[in-house]
């Protein structure tokens, strides 16, 4: 099976080359037979990449250490689940994983679009196959996962224990699923440019795939944050590391696109801008993979510095050049078909939302690449870290949070004064009350105060929208609150799913602001000794060391400490933290020692205990942190995922004859749009 997999990878290379060539030829010569052959070539590429992937999985699961990739990434003693996920833990495997997902996505996208987007199919197929060709070629020639060793090791090197975590098993594939999904909108955008079919034909398929990309990027980013928080022991979840940034970049531009595409759907505007966002999102995904894989920028994630960097750089600049040429030669075809009616409209709000999202993306990109620019221009290596990103992005983020509340409430085309008054009075008042109450309670830090006030405002807008919708359903259909809620969401998935995503965003902002009040204590405790302190809310805490224990399970040596924990005199239980040294089958140390963090979760704060070291066998050196509101980061993330799922869920097209309130409105005003639906 391993040999079949290796062979399949080479056949996939040929298939992708074939599909690229004949698909583009089919598009240029308007020959359906060539197009059909190109499409079949894409399907065959998918089949071959599946076989290649099965080959690699077989090598991993059979622990065939004669394969270099297997020997380098797993060991005999590793749990099977992490042997399975080792497929994407190294460079060669992750490139094959890229190809696997892209060929699957491409097959689905083309198979489901052949009739509806017939004119785009040859160009889209050619573009998807060209991207596939790049990844498969990189895998074949620069990072082949089937390369054999000329000796047979007794055991493999294994996987860093920090990566043997459910979060890390799921975080990379989700990011990949998100990254790769940007390739489909890109392919259709390129197809639309090639075919000069820049009307609404490409919008449907592009929106669906952009949404899928956003959904998986969201999951991937949140899982990565969670893993960093529970596994790395630094009491945080985001460090503005270049690789973190590179996953955030396509998320930002895809989010911008998902808003601006609504303007094109509704008004036929922003056609050029939307093409640019689709293309930029894809290029940023390639940039992200390039950053992760090239080692060109210093990063805690740049674990695989290898010769694929120049290949990625070439591909990146080639794709950029072709896109600029295509957009530049088709500017006239991209002219807007409608005009803006008012600066006070949802269109304008969405455009400012786009400005901020792209502005934040630019800031993150700029900060990420500036060390390279500095070294190139001055010969000086510098670091651009959290102080830079926080000071520049916090104001932009707060403006964006404000627009998260404004956008959904303001009317399409032109908002009237009465619309503004009625829609914004209650949420604005609620936000103001939140700010005033927190100020009265003693909160003086400006950024968190503004964040909570704005989060209150956004929450107010969402609650108001649900309230009005449910009341309307109750009035018309005599439904209960819960039934009304379910029907409201079920029948307006894009709108109310979007609101749920916004609720998750507001929650995330509030949780981020909570970390401004985090406190940390370095403590040294012998057995029976206690440490007493107060958390940021003023509760009294007492931690009593239960002593240091040692154990030697099969594959590791463990030192652990338990802290009996009391809050305001009430016993909460024991929080344990461990220091682990993993061993190979011969008892040699594998990797560096790692810490298992002890976390006591609660809605108000996490109590976070890290065993930093042990002295004299029973004296534990500990760091105890109180991290307010962290759990709301994960809940906010879940909400965003749920909202995303609701938005993505297929909805049957309904075109009922208008009746009731809508029927009596002047037809030109398109009531649903006018009033902000």
């Amino acid at each position: 099976m391993i040999l079949i997999g290796e062979l399949s990878l080479w056949v996939a290379l040929l298939m992708a080359a074939w599909s690229t060539t004949v698909s583009y030829a089919g598009g240029a010569l308007r020959r359906d037979d060539l197009t059909a052959s190109g499409v079949r070539g894409l399907y065959a590429t998918f089949a071959m990449v599946v076989l290649a992937s099965l080959g690699l999985w077989t090598a991993l699961l059979s622990r065939d250490f004669s394969v270099e990739y297997v020997a380098s990434h797993i060991s005999a003693a590793m749990p099977s689940v992490y042997i399975f996920t080792a497929f994407w833990s190294g460079q060669a495997g992750s490139l094959l994983f890229w190809a696997l997902i892209l060929s699957m996505y491409g097959t689905i996208a083309i198979a489901t679009s052949r009739k509806r987007n017939a004119t785009l199919v040859p160009w889209a197929t050619g573009t998807i196959s060209a991207i596939l060709l790049f990844f498969i070629a990189t895998d074949c020639f620069k990072a082949n996962p089937f390369t054999r060793l000329d000796f047979l090791p007794a055991d493999g090197r294994g996987m860093n224990p920090q990566l043997q975590n459910p979060g890390m098993a799921l975080h990379p594939p989700n990011l990949y699923l998100g990254y790769v999904a940007t390739a489909i909108p890109f392919a259709f955008a390129i197809a639309a440019l090639f075919a000069r079919k820049l009307d609404a034909e490409w919008l449907g398929v592009v929106r669906r795939w952009a949404l899928l990309s956003w959904f998986f990027l969201t999951i991937g980013i949140v899982l990565g944050m969670w893993w960093a928080y529970v596994e790395l022991g630094w009491s945080g979840y985001w460090a503005w590391d270049p690789v973190e940034n590179s996953s955030f970049l396509p998320w930002l531009t895809t989010t911008a696109f998902l808003h601006s595409i609504m303007i094109q759907e509704k008004r036929g505007m922003l056609r050029k801008w939307n093409v640019v966002l689709v293309v930029v999102s894809f290029l940023l995904s390639i940039f992200g993979t390039f950053i992760t894989r090239s080692g060109v920028i210093e990063s805690v994630h740049s674990f695989a510095q290898s010769p694929v960097g120049p290949w990625f750089a070439t591909f990146f600049f080639l794709a950029t050049g072709i896109t600029i040429y295509l957009v530049g030669t088709r500017l006239k075809d991209l002219e807007a078909k409608a005009e803006l009616e008012s600066m006070v409209s949802r269109e304008a709000a969405f455009l400012y939302n786009n400005l901020l999202l792209v502005g934040i993306a630019f800031t993150v990109f700029w900060g990420t690449i500036f060390p390279i620019l500095s070294e190139w221009a001055k010969g000086t290596k510098i670091t651009v870290g959290p102080p830079f990103f926080n000071s520049v992005n916090v104001p932009l983020g707060l403006l964006l949070l404000a627009l998260t509340g404004v956008g959904p409430l303001i009317a399409w085309r032109k908002a009237s004064v009465s619309n503004l008054n009625r829609q914004f009075a209650s949420p604005a008042l609620f936000g103001l009350i939140v700010g005033v109450v927190l100020f009265a309670l003693g909160m003086r830090a400006l950024a968190p105060l503004v964040t909570y006030a704005l989060s209150g405002f956004v929450a107010g807008t969402i609650v108001q929208e649900f309230y009005k919708g449910i009341r309307a359903r109750q009035a018309i259909h005599q439904e209960s609150v819960m039934t009304g809620f379910l029907h409201l969401v079920g029948r307006n998935r894009r709108r109310y799913g979007g609101y749920i995503v916004h609720a998750g965003i507001a929650m995330l902002f509030a949780a981020f602001a909570g970390m401004a009040f985090a406190t940390q204590h370095d403590v040294t405790l012998a057995t029976g000794q206690a440490f007493e302190t107060r958390d940021p809310y003023g509760h009294a805490w007492r931690f009593v060391s239960q002593g240091v224990s040692t154990s030697s399970p099969r594959d590791r040596q463990v030192q652990g400490v338990g802290l009996e924990t009391f809050r305001d005199g009430k016993r909460l239980g024991i929080i344990t933290s461990e220091k682990r040294q993993y061993l190979d089958t011969q008892g040699n140390a594998l990797f560096t020692p790692i810490t298992e963090v002890g976390i006591k979760y609660s809605a108000k704060l996490d109590t976070y205990v890290v065993l930093a070291g042990v002295r004299n066998t029973d004296v534990a050196e500990l760091r105890i942190s109180f991290n307010p509101l962290v759990v709301w980061v994960w809940i906010g993330g879940y909400l965003m995922m749920i909202g995303g799922l609701i938005v993505m869920w297929p909805q049957a097209e309904r075109r009922r004859p208008q009746a009731g309130y809508a029927a009596v409105m002047p037809t030109r005003t398109e009531p649903a749009e006018l009033a902000g639906v």
Partner: protein
């Protein structure tokens, strides 16, 4: 014309030939020592330079007393970049799980300088003197680095101005639409009990209830 089956067959034969050729290429398989084969791309995390710490020491000031509290010292360490190869500050790196030996060494230097009576800025300058600008977590706001700090702000403000100008230019001049009355008209929307809304909002609700709207 070549049939699909013929084509696939030939493609597979070609690939097999390429595979055999690749296997026979010495450079692909033979030039690697046992160690290097396994060292490459193995740890899944960045390569740490455990020897990167250099002494940052200054004589204590006369009659020196600690210049700051432990909390202030920890805050100061958030502004000093660990040199182990990560992108973290000294405080974060030494309290993470990377088993770094560089950040604890830098931490010891910070403690000594604090005990020696040096201010936060003097300590930062001492680290920059030894390690260069890389000792900072963010570039200094001077010279070429001003580009780093001001480009994003200038870009966003310029974008905002341009967007506003573009919107103003595209704003259509037309007579205002007849305003709907709050109570509705004989042929207009009716009020929904318990919902204080304009006819436009009622229309939106209607659309929402019918399920033909979106966000």
């Amino acid at each position: 014309m070549t049939s699909r089956r013929d084509f696939l067959g030939r493609a597979a034969s070609g690939a097999a030939a390429m595979l055999v050729a690749a296997r026979m290429t010495p450079a692909q398989q033979r030039g690697r020592t046992h160690d290097s084969a396994l060292v490459r791309d193995t740890t899944n995390l960045f390569a740490m330079d455990q020897g990167a710490a250099q002494p940052v020491r200054l004589p204590p000031k006369p009659g020196a007393a600690p210049s700051m509290t432990d909390v202030q010292r920890d805050e100061l360490e958030h502004h000093i970049h660990c040199q182990c190869g990560c992108t973290l500050d000294v405080f974060t790196c030494r309290t993470t799980d990377f088993s770094c030996q560089v950040s604890p060494a830098m931490h010891r230097d910070v403690i000594a300088l604090v005990k020696g009576g040096y201010t936060a800025q003097e300590i930062i300058d001492a680290f920059v003197g030894v390690y260069g600008e890389r000792a900072l977590m963010a570039p200094k706001k001077s010279g070429f680095n001003l580009l780093a700090w001001f480009t994003p702000g200038v870009a966003v403000i310029a974008g905002g101005v341009l967007l506003s100008m573009w919107l103003r230019r595209r704003e259509r001049r037309e007579p205002p639409r007849p305003a709907a009355t709050a109570a509705g008209t004989a042929s207009g929307p009716i009020a929904v009990p318990g919902v204080d809304a304009t006819p436009e909002e009622l229309a939106r609700l209607e659309a929402a209830v019918k399920g033909d709207g979106d966000a």
